[in-house]
């Protein structure tokens, strides 16, 4: 099993009365709550945390894309990934988003990801999300009725831009370019592994199967509520004649490790409540856009009487203990966490587990504590899951030649003068 350390990069200073006084953490969040100098610290802490995770042995470090969002400070994850590529050596760099339909022309994604693959020495995992309605339709004004068509076309264009050696012309429905010929090209051949972060849409499962991409279910609501979705995914893979290789799937899970369960409850309560009560305070109006959910998915949901696909945010529990009971957050001693993570991986059949060890306003010292405990005491207990049965075909290949070694961090001018 692969363990992929995932950062949402939340703003960590939303006020205590955020929920009462503000309309939404997303799309219309009040910019007056944003302190840019505080953000300087948050960005640097967050990137330190990602680098620390690489150092202590996680297989990958993951960043993602959000817009107008108080819990996701990475409108451009590629910027963060570029910095991480210079400061890490052997960890996969998982960019769990460029929302393809937002980039015009989409070859911009092909170019930037090829740059990342070259800088990192073939360590890039390329995430291609459709993107949420909040990010794509409301914050970026993309048309929900054409979003998926644009996304599919962008995928085809990017893959061709990565793999076609000759200059070609793209005469698409949404993109027309006389000369597609990106420089640079990715190190990984034929191209970096593609992972698709998604919700429970049938089209996304089919798309992953058709293109042999990884499906990463990025839920904030734990493995219990994910069972139905992952069962649907694996049933669909079986129907389409795909094997049950667990590395076809990824799953995000909030985790808090401590010396004991009691201590974990104490240590992580504030960060958990901050995340679920402030960061997920999204105006319901933004969680759907007309045409964003396809008719086939809407029909399946209506027929199965489960909640609407567009309903991103179920009723949220009020206390951290309830969040833990519902499985949104896994906590405990290292042994307890290892047992639960093993259970999540085997029950949902997930080869790429993505623990989220910084959530809400968790301060950087606690993030390091959580990350280190997980790496030292949990990771060794669960790393072997699936390894004797399955091969991960969706992992970066690195370079054939010896990778470059980045120079040490630059000194300040005063240090250099001394």
């Amino acid at each position: 099993m692969k363990l992929c350390w995932f950062h949402l990069m939340p703003y960590r200073d939303l006020p205590n009365d955020f929920r009462e006084k503000h309309d939404s953490v997303w799309v219309t969040i009040d910019s007056r709550l944003f302190d840019a100098e505080r953000a300087h610290q948050i960005y640097n802490d967050s990137m330190d945390e990602l680098e620390f995770a690489a150092e202590v042995g996680f297989d990958a470090i993951c960043v993602n894309e959000h817009h107008n969002n108080g819990y996701g400070l990475m409108p451009s994850p590629n910027l963060i990934a570029a910095a991480l590529a210079r400061r890490t050596r052997d960890t996969a760099i998982c960019v769990m988003g460029n929302s393809l339909a937002l980039y015009n022309p989409p070859v911009r994604v092909a170019e930037e990801m090829a740059m990342l693959d070259c800088i990192s020495g073939g360590r890039l995992i390329a995430g291609f999300p459709v993107g949420t309605p909040m990010d794509t339709c409301y914050a970026y004004g993309q048309n929900p009725s054409t979003l998926r068509e644009r996304y599919y076309e962008a995928n085809d264009l990017i893959i061709k831009a990565w793999t076609e050696p000759d200059v070609f012309t793209w005469n698409g429905r949404y993109n027309q370019q006389r000369y597609v010929n990106i420089w640079p090209r990715p190190i990984q051949k034929p191209h970096p592994p593609v992972w698709i972060p998604g919700g429970g849409s049938i089209e996304t499962w089919n798309f992953c199967a058709e293109h042999d991409y990884v499906y990463a279910y990025l839920s904030y609501f734990g493995s219990l509520s994910a069972e139905e979705t992952m069962r649907g995914f694996w049933n669909e893979m079986a129907r389409l004649g795909k094997d049950r290789n667990p590395y076809r799937a990824g799953f995000l899970q909030f985790v808090g490790v401590a010396e004991s369960r009691k201590e974990a409850l104490k240590l992580y309560a504030e960060a958990g409540e901050y995340f679920y009560k402030r960061c997920l305070h999204v105006a319901p109006a933004f969680s759907a856009a007309p045409g964003y959910t396809t008719e086939a998915t809407a029909r399946a949901k209506l027929q199965s009487q489960v909640q609407q696909a567009a309903n991103y945010f179920p009723e949220l529990p009020q206390t951290f203990a309830q969040m833990v009971d519902k499985g949104y957050v896994i906590i405990g001693s290292p042994d307890e966490v290892a047992e639960q993570m093993r259970d999540v991986a085997t029950r949902l059949h997930i080869g790429h587990l993505m623990p989220n060890l910084q959530f809400g306003n968790m301060p950087t010292e606690l993030v390091r504590h959580n990350t280190e405990l997980f790496a030292r005491k949990v990771l060794p207990q669960i790393k072997d899951v699936f390894d004797d049965e399955w091969e991960d075909h969706w992992w970066p290949t690195g370079m054939r030649n010896k990778p470059a070694v980045p120079a040490p961090v630059a000194q300040t001018r005063a240090e250099a003068a001394a």
């Binding site: 309309d23 939404s24 219309t28 339709c137 409301y138 004004g141 048309n143 929900p144 009725s145 054409t146 068509e149 429905r173 949404y174 105006a283 319901p284 109006a285 933004f286 856009a289 007309p290 045409g291 959910t293 008719e295 809407a298 029909r299 209506l302 027929q303």
Partner: protein, 262 residues
């Protein structure tokens, strides 16, 4: 209410429903938000003296094929084709909200294609100093609170028909929203303002006085750009879907306008 007669025409090889009722001179109606999930009292008022013809735009209830249409150009051509297929060329046309954005463009591009134009709170133009409301994500919702002055009237209008399919009905209503979003997202601005001056048939600009979606003050801003004779009418105790809120009054005003039009 007696049921209207129903015919199906093909637009871009997709079926679109045409409802018809009454006798007399032709009078077209192209609806706005939600399309026409059912025949309405407003149309019955008109059908007393006129042959009312209500074609369904692609993607709106009764019509398919919206996903073929990628640009305003595609949509306007499809609208013109639909009017022709519904035997509405040269007729008096009423168009509301979402539908009015398209019919106004047909009037601008093919001045001979209709005899008179009634626009009920049309989309298609967006003024920064008086923005159209976010009809896709009203906060706080639900959307009927900004569509009509009495939300129960809207709920009656869109509720599941007797014998309707409880799965397909909400999908049909979502599809209407998607179809409109396809040419109006995100602001409702199609660039119509650049073409309004080409409208050369008598035009009635009718608004619910309490329209919370398209500001009633847009009426004057449309009127000053349209070269043909225009008149403005505001309906008391009516919102964006004025003909749902006040069917008799809206019908009476329109029929009065049509009696005066040359």
């Amino acid at each position: 209410m007696n049921a209207p007669a129903e015919a199906i025409v093909q637009i871009n090889s997709h079926p679109c429903r045409v409802w018809q009722k009454g006798t007399g001179e032709r009078l077209g109606y192209v609806p706005g938000y939600g399309g026409l999930p059912r025949w309405t009292p407003f149309l019955d008022e008109l059908a007393v003296t006129r042959r009312v013809i209500a074609p369904s735009l692609p993607g709106f209830p009764g019509g398919l094929g919206h996903t073929e249409l990628d640009s305003q150009f595609d949509w306007v051509v499809a609208t013109r084709d639909l009017l022709e297929a519904a035997d509405l060329l040269g007729a008096d046309i009423i168009a509301a909200g979402f539908g009015a954005a398209l019919v106004a463009d047909v009037a601008a591009l093919w001045p001979d294609s209709l005899r008179s134009l009634t626009l009920i709170a049309p989309f298609g133009v967006f003024f920064d100093d008086e923005p159209i409301a976010d009809i896709w994500a009203p906060r706080p919702g639900p959307v009927e609170n900004i569509l009509v002055t009495d939300p129960t009237r809207y709920r009656e209008f869109v509720k599941l028909a007797d014998g309707g399919d409880p799965v397909e009905w909400p999908i049909m209503m979502n599809r209407a929203n998607e179809a409109a979003a396809r040419y109006l997202w995100p602001l409702g601005n199609t660039g119509l303002i650049k073409r309004l001056h080409r409208i050369s048939v008598p035009t009635l600009l009718l608004w619910g006085a309490q329209d919370a979606v398209v500001p009633p003050s847009y009426a004057e801003r449309f009127a000053e750009r349209i070269q043909a004779p225009t008149s403005i009418s505001r309906i008391a105790d009516a919102g964006h879907l004025a003909e749902i809120d006040q069917p008799a009054q809206v019908a009476e005003r329109i029929l009065a306008f049509l009696r005066q039009a040359p």
